[in-house]
């Protein structure tokens, strides 16, 4: 099946700093999503971005499907940005094309 790798696994930032999280995937995709998991375990949808660039406030994401990677940018980080960020992809074809395969996540800690 499709492989998803996220980097870095852990990231510590000072409040106000910027960061870039990366997601590499091993095959063509028809779905790529970025999530933030809050302290209570809920997965919050950040972006649905199988290709292109999107922005939402201080967050933006870019997926280069031909090169099989996606980037999540967080600018002017706040302590409330802390948590685990997941990238998840759905293969473009074949069995399991409705499914999402998740990366292991990036644990972000923003300190005041």
């Amino acid at each position: 099946g499709i492989q998803v790798e996220q980097s870095p696994p852990d990231l510590i930032l000072q409040e106000g700093a910027n960061s870039t999280l990366r997601c590499n995937f091993s095959d063509s995709v028809n779905n790529l999503q970025w999530f933030h998991q809050n302290p209570w375990g809920q997965l919050i949808n950040l972006f649905y971005i199988p290709s292109g660039t999107k922005q939402n406030g201080r967050l933006s994401a870019t997926t280069v499907a031909t090169e099989r990677y996606s980037l999540l940018y967080i600018s002017s980080s706040q302590t409330t940005d802390s948590g685990v960020y997941f990238c998840a992809v759905g293969p473009a074809s074949g069995a399991g094309s409705y499914q999402l395969t998740f990366g292991k996540g990036t644990k972000l800690s923003v300190i005041p």
Binding site: N31, Q33, W40, G41, Y48, Y98, Q99, T101
Partner: protein, 113 residues
Amino acid sequence: DVKVTQSSRYLVKRTGEKVFLECVQDMDHENMFWYRQDPGLGLRLIYFSYDVKMKEKGDIPEGYSVSREKKERFSLILESASTNQTSMYLCASSRTGSYNEQFFGPGTRLTVL
């Protein structure tokens, strides 16, 4: 807004009990999913359903079954709970077709003693 709800946030059961986890979505989505999340292993797909009464095994279906009698409801069943099924269980739903963003419920943290 899409809303996916799960019947319990926390659940404690005994080994050997039959356990039902319920998930309901209100957006008329065709697809519904059950995942479990474990430290170090990430999120893994247990089962999914693409239509009423239809189901497909995911990556780790052993020890679980599912039921989808109505489009909005998808149940995960642990026939005889075991301690290695202690985990966080997350339900999700999505449309079929080119725009297939998945939306997740709040999760059920299950402990099997």
